[in-house]
Symmetry: C2
Subunit: 379 residues, 2 copies
């Protein structure tokens, strides 16, 4: 497996990003990912009971169609809590893109991120689509990476290449964060493109596994978003021997896990206001669920996160107090907490609870003045 | 019922507060509450699985004794996650106070609040006890109120007087906050004193009910403390016809509810860095539990709290997103959110979810730069 710390689109994929005028800042805010070949798609959505309009439209398209050709994404507006008008706007967004690409709307998936509760300016999206489609190219994935950002400070992309029976298969992921990041998932969008030939069931299984070990193991602020979406598109362009649930599946699954985990870590590194990247590993727990509960309870403790920000020895007591407040069954005398120096930018916290043999790792960041400032001013 | 917005100790109670030198700041840090008559006690503890040493000692004393004479409280050090040495220190603290008062140690209850993970300086406590006891008086409850504070900006006291068959019964509560405040309870200590003559079972029931409607309905930062303790002492000095579980019980219970709710609201008003007091009422929920889940999910959303701080219209979408992330069963189309102007210091948020007839109210505050600053610098 070869890893590239940038987005390299696999065979048959094109992308572009433009400024449609949705963001007040005038920054780019509309992205398109296009597959020249019909592609299978697997999707993971937020578990928030309030789901934004594009998620509802995607669920309908996933029922109506077995293959997909494009993903259209806007930033600056989440099209959430916008009621039936919002759903109609999401339908229009897919229709406009479909008309431009001359394909059926049901073959389009969409995503929106940004402010909640305001109508999506679909007229602006419609006007920008000709330019968006004209610029589609493999190279313009860099423009697409930019156009999906909200308060992110940097773009996020990674590529893994694997060899399946003599054919090179590419898996390329791009993502955006960077607040309202909580398990499960977050105001995070991730789009993964592969030229693998893979059965639908295998693709679904691989994405579910990868999401569980990556995007569902990060927390910035314990605020679960209404828009979280992870989509993988597989167009088969590499003409590999089909990835099945044996042999080559394990290799593909490992590569997809790695792509998702690296994107998840980038999201945490770029979290709003973060100055520290914190890895919390819980060992010797009764089972994986309890290990993860303890790790997340610490990761979500505002007091713990502020102590790390301040490089204060209070982090220790606050981590223990947070672990005790979790639902996991633990005893004070069994808890051991070790940490690398808080002076560093990357901090490892190791917690041992002596109730079993299971481990879990979650990733989080510190809670800072920057986080407050960004979220007070965001509009 | 007559309410006084200050602490007026009932008959037979004395108090004092002194500086034992536990706090680096040199502020007062040791308080004593004393009853001249043996008093019944009821106690509610934190639900954190990590419990500080004084809680363990209190649980032992509550098994060993039916009546109590004093509560000793230190601030500046929580005596938590201090292991067996910490338990030994807590035992010593009770012993020193008992020796000074010439009563059995099992008739003493204790409480500690402050930094976690450091040994309690029991020598300093021992040295301060003679002065602490010499100064015991009804008036010095004001010194006691001060000595239990940590980062609180103001002292918290309230008194209710009721008439039971011709006798005046006084219920006086004092408390401290002001961070790590989450349901259930918080790094909060509350001590309530009454001269009522009341059966043990009735006292237990009244405190449990009052706590459920007050201290367990507030959240500052969703961080559950290891030291939360609410104690009520009833010494019977008013010689009222005993409060039973009928008639006079309802009056007593209402007065205790009111004392606890007012203390809980003061804790929220004085929360670390808070600039806004937020009442969140959820109506038309399927049951009380779901109503409270929704209200607390909103109260604990960092993004919602920052939006209120910033007086930003984003509060609306963030409240809805938080409600959707709760465990309660709700649908987007049924959610209505109304709020009074965010410009005011006191803000009412009313959420209607149209799934039933139950309501719940919780109290919280905004999340501000002040909160970060206080908790980064606390040591």
């Amino acid at each position: 497996m070869i890893i590239y710390k940038k987005a390299i689109l696999p065979s048959g994929f094109l992308a572009n990003g433009v400024c449609a005028g949705i963001k007040k800042s005038g920054k780019s805010d509309l992205a398109l990912f296009y597959s020249a070949l019909p592609a299978k798609a697997a999707v993971q959505f937020t578990q928030n009971k309030i789901q934004a309009a594009p998620l509802k439209i995607n669920k309908r398209h996933l029922k109506e169609s077995r293959d997909f050709r494009a993903i259209a994404v806007n930033s600056g507006n989440a099209n959430c809590f916008t009621g039936q008008s919002g759903s109609a706007d999401a339908v229009k967004m897919a229709q406009y893109v479909a008309a431009g690409l001359k394909i059926a709307p049901k073959k389009i998936l969409i995503a929106s991120t940004g402010i909640i509760g305001k109508r999506l300016p679909v007229g602006k999206i419609k006007n920008a689509i000709p330019e968006l489609i004209r610029g589609l190219s493999a190279k313009n994935v860099d423009k697409a990476k930019l156009a999906i950002l909200t308060t992110d400070k940097f773009t996020k992309g990674i590529t893994a290449k694997i060899n399946i029976a003599g054919k090179t298969v590419t898996i390329c992921g791009i993502a955006k964060g960077s607040g309202m990041i909580a398990p499960n998932m977050a105001t995070m969008l991730a789009f993964i493109f592969t030229d693998a030939d893979i059965a639908q069931a295998a693709l679904n299984k691989a994405l579910k596994t990868a999401t569980g070990q990556s995007f569902n193991c990060i927390s910035v602020d314990n605020c679960m978003s209404t828009n979280d979406t992870v989509i993988v598109m597989a167009n088969g362009a590499s003409r590999n021997a089909p990835v099945d649930t044996h042999g080559s599946f394990n290799l593909f699954s490992r590569a997809l896990n790695l792509v998702c985990l690296e994107l998840a870590k980038m999201i945490v590194r770029d979290a709003e206001g973060a100055t520290k990247f914190i890895r919390i590993r819980v060992d010797k727990a009764g089972n994986f669920k309890q290990a993860k509960q303890i790790a997340l309870a610490i990761a979500n403790s505002a007091l713990f996160k502020i102590a790390v920000y301040a490089e204060s020895p209070n982090f220790f007591g606050r981590a223990v107090a947070a672990a005790g407040a979790s639902r996991a069954d633990i005893k004070e005398k069994d808890i051991k907490v070790k940490a690398t120096s808080l002076k560093r930018r990357d901090i490892d916290i190791n917690v041992s609870v002596n109730t079993g043999k299971s481990s879990a790792t979650v990733y989080t960041c510190d809670l800072t003045h920057g986080y407050i400032k960004i979220n007070a001013e965001y509009n």
